[in-house]
Symmetry: C2
Subunit: 320 residues, 2 copies
């Protein structure tokens, strides 16, 4: 089968054997999405080698432990825990120290004709959700997780920094709970996507006038400066949600966090169940985030395209 | 009157006029304590000029708005808010943007024969508490605040990094709630102070074996390395309490906070009421932290002494 692989520090489309793990379900991938993390991986993040990709929708071809699921259209939770440690037993496989992560840690990913995942990781996609929308389940789950980590009320003032895909999904998630959400970014055209969603778009250069006004600030820009900028926006006792992973060591003024008694909340993955509900109910707009779609055979080109300025979600169409 | 002042970047004992603010209570200072923040101020922290000191016990000499308080022995909350902003109205003067802070921001402090504070900032000291103990009300309140910021249960595993005064007070505060408190420091003799309090002392060089075991880690060492070290100690989804302010920009690996979904909680001051209760009930040992006492006239020497290795709390005896 064909797979988009990062091996020996090189990205290429390769012909490899179809995966064959009888303890897991075999999924034929229909579509996958290129995430910023994919771009980071080919720059060296997480030291990963193998098939990249972790956002997908597919169809179950084989599932020894659940034959009734064969033929179902599914998305998949990307963290696979050991199943036996305390964290896994408590239901938190996302933090299992032995975990593999689809296309990120020790497990071949989704930019391929087939993948395997344990049956427990797979969720059926309701008929109301298109394939293009379903690919957003994983990033939407990650964005919506914020609302489960911190309390957001209708009058909570929230700012999201970064008008990329993640920032826009975070802003939409927060706007489901609060009437006071501002998205701050550098791109007028990207900010315009959210304006019909009752979210205020503010260009970065105008943002200093908003300093010290927010209860919550989400750093989703993926840049080091975004962190200190988020601190500027917060009221005392405010909460800074750290969403994006940037490489290496960042600098920060720790004393500001102490003096203003700020809480910083690291936030990575989220639960798929509420994300599928949101997609089913059209509560968020994900389709406006799609820039373009390539066939898997043009995967390398698609990855290049995804790095270009102004380009948002790039999809790969893999099988029918 | 005599006062220990930091002016023109120089620390000296000066003869100045007795304070005279008719809107505030006049307090004769009996004893004061030298805090690490005092030492930071004479290195330039907070850009303060004036009389330093914010830990004290004293006697009210004049209080126009509460004449019945005259003669009472008191301690004082150090933050003075504007009284009219939203934060002050909500009862949070500690974060008022216009606040002054005794001996730290825009307000002469406690290493002097007299100080003034609004009557609302002063709390009577119960007879069961000695003057030496009462001086610890402010730092103990700051340490005990942790237990109000994060939930600590009997089986919560908590580590405190730093065996200075603040670290020892934090460890004792946590040990009132949890059976599993470890204090990590460099000094065997300091660690021995807490061992009779059901807290385990661990030398820093032996601490790596404790990595990823704690629900809560408190950074109270005042050093940049303490922060990354605290991260090492935490389980996924752990909480890092940032207690100490260190100067300038620190480096950190922000991605670790995201991947492990760590929460960082900045923590500064605390409420005096519970701290006075703890002192009254002998629930914490503060006297073991006192290294020595100087008269105010030797204040400069006392500050020098407080910087020395192995020296813990240095008190100033000011009036009888």
């Amino acid at each position: 089968m064909q797979a988009l692989r990062f091996t020996n520090k090189k990205l290429k489309l390769a012909e490899i054997l179809k995966p064959n793990d009888k303890n897991e379900a075999l999924v034929r991938v229909v579509k996958s999405g290129i995430c910023r993390t994919d771009l980071e991986i080919v720059k060296g993040y997480a030291n990963f080698a193998g098939t990249i990709g972790h956002e997908f929708v597919g169809v179950i071809e084989e599932a020894k432990d659940a034959p009734n699921l064969v033929g179902k259209r599914v998305v998949g939770e990307i963290n696979v825990g050991c199943g036996i440690c305390d964290l896994c037993q408590s239901g938190d496989a996302r933090h299992c120290p032995q975990r593999t992560v689809l296309g990120i840690v020790g497990r071949d990913g989704a930019h391929a004709e087939f993948l395997t995942l344990p049956t427990r990781n797979l969720l059926e996609v309701p008929a109301e959700i298109t394939n293009e929308q379903a690919v957003f389940t994983e990033p939407l789950a990650a964005a919506y997780a914020i609302t489960e980590q911190v309390s957001i009320k209708p009058d909570t003032k929230a700012a999201v920094i970064g008008d990329g895909k993640l920032g826009i999904l975070c802003a939409q998630s927060l706007a489901l709970k609060s009437r006071n959400v501002v998205l701050i970014g550098k791109h007028k055209e990207k900010l315009s996507i959210i304006e019909k969603r009752n979210i205020e778009g503010v260009l970065l250069k105008h943002a200093p006038k908003l300093n010290r006004q927010f209860d919550i600030a989400v750093e989703a820009s993926g840049s080091e400066s975004g962190f200190n900028f988020a601190l500027d926006l917060l009221k005392p006792r405010g909460k800074l949600i750290l969403k994006s992973t940037f490489h290496g060591e960042a600098k920060w003024q720790a004393w500001r966090v102490v003096v203003d008694e700020i809480t910083i909340v690291g936030s990575r993955c989220g639960r798929f169940v509420p994300a599928l509900e949101l997609l089913k109910n059209k509560a968020v707009d994900v389709e406006s985030l799609i820039s373009t779609e390539f066939p898997l055979r043009d995967g390398v080109k698609a990855m290049e395209q995804a790095t270009k300025k102004g380009v948002m979600k790039v999809l790969l169409s893999i099988t029918d």
